[in-house]
Assembly symmetry: C2
Homo-oligomer: 345 residues x 2
């Protein structure tokens, strides 16, 4: 390359397209066309522009671009709780698919001091950027909050069922998934089981309820263990141990792997062997390393959800289609924490 005529040391971030055009000896419009334009550009011109850009370290100004184009190829993700592995994984998967589709994505999370106020704030950050589309993966944002924007920016709710008639959603089929576990437990011959049903987590609650219903329908005696304080240590553990002592149950079902994990030390302390004395099932299959623990659980289809969400989004970007609400099935993970019921042996 011949040394640039404009070789003064200016920061790459200060290099505008005009400078690139000048350096390449073309007009700004042509330079613009080279980068994103739909109209054809002569091959040697194109090359000249690329080289000039390379030489100057040009970084296109996204703001100016979308401002002028009155549209943005940036998608936004409103993410509830990045510190929750299930959401973290969803984030990573969405990002991968979005990139693969040649789009961009920026993510915002509500400052997790809880409360709708912060979610609203995060939403506005995305809207302020005039994103071209939005993935919403958060519990608190109500559909009505999104309503005013629906005509301008496609919204796909992911990871949470949404029934709003104008909003697409891709989420997990918690009922079906619960059924998978119920089938497994019933098939193993258990006739009495404890089910932990938390009050505070929407999806965990739903899972618990579904498992209770499923077991009952199959003639299994169910002991519902409610779990008022979310995340508290002793939660229901003693109750389950007691139920086992009284030989009322041979299995316990938890609405998340996390809760199963939390129960383990109590089982050990009580001298209960898993699964010989007591079978256990979890829910999620996401916790890193959980596969190594050999939990019997359901793996929620995070990857599928991400893939579908991006597909749906792309379809929306092309043309608005009637909203669909998809429910994705998980897969049963046959671990080592579920065994034949002692009496059935």
């Amino acid at each position: 390359m011949a040394p640039s005529m404009d070789d003064k040391v200016t920061s790459p971030l200060k290099v505008t397209m005009a400078k690139v055009a000048l350096e390449a000896g073309v007009s700004r419009a042509t330079a613009s066309r080279v980068f994103y334009g739909s109209t054809p550009v002569a091959e040697h011109t194109r090359r000249a522009v690329y080289e000039a850009a390379e030489r100057l370290g040009y970084v296109p100004n996204t703001m100016a671009r979308s401002l002028a184009a009155r549209s943005s190829d940036i998608l936004g993700l409103l993410l509830r709780a990045p510190d929750n592995p299930a959401y973290g994984l969803l984030f990573a998967e969405l990002q991968a698919h979005v990139s693969a589709a040649g789009l961009q994505m920026v993510t915002v999370a509500p400052s997790r001091h809880e409360g709708a106020h912060f979610e609203r704030q995060a939403l506005n950050r995305l809207l302020g950027l005039r994103v071209g589309g939005m993935f919403v993966s958060t519990g608190v944002i109500r559909a009505e909050m999104l309503e005013p924007f629906l005509d301008l920016v496609p919204v796909v709710v992911v990871g949470r069922p949404e029934s709003h008639p104008d909003i697409h959603s891709v989420s997990y089929d918690e009922d079906y998934n619960a059924g998978l576990l119920v089938d497994a437990v019933v098939a193993a011959g258990h006739r009495g089981a404890a089910v932990v049903v938390p009050d505070h987590s929407v999806s965990e609650h739903r899972r618990g309820v579904a498992m209770v219903r499923g077991l009952t329908e199959r003639g299994v005696k169910v002991y519902e263990v409610s779990s008022p304080t979310f995340g508290s240590r002793e939660e229901g553990a003693r109750e389950i141990v007691e139920l086992r002592r009284e030989e009322r149950i041979t299995a316990a079902m938890f609405p998340s792997d996390w809760r199963l994990l939390a129960f383990l030390p109590h089982a050990q302390e009580a001298g209960l062997k898993v699964p010989d004395d007591l079978s256990l099932t979890g829910f999620d299959g996401i916790l890193p390393g959980i596969d190594l623990m050999g939990f019997t659980t359901v793996r929620i289809p995070v990857e599928d959800a991400a893939r579908r969400a991006v597909e749906v989004m792309r379809a929306q970007l092309d043309e608005r289609t009637p909203p669909r609400h998809e429910l994705l099935p998980g897969t049963l993970v046959r671990g080592r924490t579920l065994a034949q019921a002692p009496t059935a042996r």
Copy 2:
């Protein structure tokens, strides 16, 4: 409120500041001043503008704003692996502190098909937005890649030691943390220990090496278990079991909780009781539910790192100060997987 004269149903996203100004009966300049301006505005004018904005559902266009202002109050976070709980937590914490500071943050992650190319792409997404500052929390981006931008956008590397003379960094004191565990193991009277030293993860490698060194210095016989294939199942597990069988070791130290977790099933299978037959230590303290497992580990100070990183960033935003490289100590978690060495009893 009197009904607006301009009450036609236009999407809030199409409401410009000009419309707000019109509605409020002031000039665009004044409206602008009301929202972010430094020059004073009469109280009643201010109120009128706010009300007009509220009525119209005005959402300021961030792009236009930063374009015109030639500066941005948006910070960027370049995040390595959102599906890793440690990074997920860091993300959440950074977001919280940034919001608390009245700033905004957008996050991008490299499409995790590995490779510097995608990290570069993610970096450019942030640069393209002309963020006002950048947190970098990723292994692959080399300092040289950032160099050209340092004079225009303050960069704070977080979660990874960085020694570049122009880049601030806030990270974990892995050596000190390793020392905490070594002290605990030595204090428990162990005279022979296995240490898993992975090849592929930079921080895990460093931790392993530090533990090996620490133990050796304290006169403990160390058996280094290298772990070539990252994340493979059997990794070193058999070797450790064998070492115990031969009574060469009474403890095994892992460079992450995840690896300790992965070893557990092997220990059980081999009939080794933890910690009676074999003491185990982890590293991280982040895995959700890990506290419930009672691991003896070191909790890395993610929250502290996030807080400091934001503090450092704010300082940079005000005025560039000479870069510092901070190392934050973790805390020992005295779990139930470390016991007195059998011979010492």
